[in-house]
Subunit: 97 residues, 2 copies
């Protein structure tokens, strides 16, 4: 009745990150930071977890002379995200009066 929700995605910040990455080809660290309003520390930790699960890839490069961390969603990540959204429906009944 209530399917298990992927605990890796059932987290406000990680979900926001995945939501962004699901809609773009890539996004860099600072973009994710400003869009989500997260602190850099928190974002760094959560990106690491998403990377460990192979839901995203993180590529460290440079933009000019400044470091630039580019994130992309993986096929596995996209699938997990869509599965999560489906599962979540069961928890959201059609609106009450």
């Amino acid at each position: 009745m209530f399917p298990k929700l992927d605990p890796l995605l059932h987290s406000e910040l990680r979900l926001a990150v995945m939501s962004i990455l699901a809609g773009v080809e890539s996004a860099d660290f600072t973009y994710l930071k400003t869009q989500t309003g997260a602190t850099a520390g928190n974002l760094s930790v959560q990106l690491e977890k998403l990377t460990a699960a192979d839901y995203i890839t993180v590529e460290k490069g440079f933009k000019g002379r400044k470091p630039c961390t580019t994130c992309r969603i993986t096929p596995a990540g996209l699938e997990a995200f869509n599965t999560y959204i489906q599962a979540l429906q069961a928890y959201l009944p059609t609106a009450q009066k």
Copy 2:
């Protein structure tokens, strides 16, 4: 862009409980336990938190000679639940290919 999600509702079990209670007049402990598949201990703790927030009321009575704990959603709880569902939409983009 990503509204803050009520942390009290952004929890798998509490959300399931609220989802059930939003659709019925009342539900007792054992019903919630079987429907959610939760352990009694976990359910007890989470009901306590929802009660502390005045999202539900818990009434301890008897059914026959056995104790029976009846739960109901409060108006505040229903409002919070609906607000949460609205906020969640921002995290769920229209499905990806």
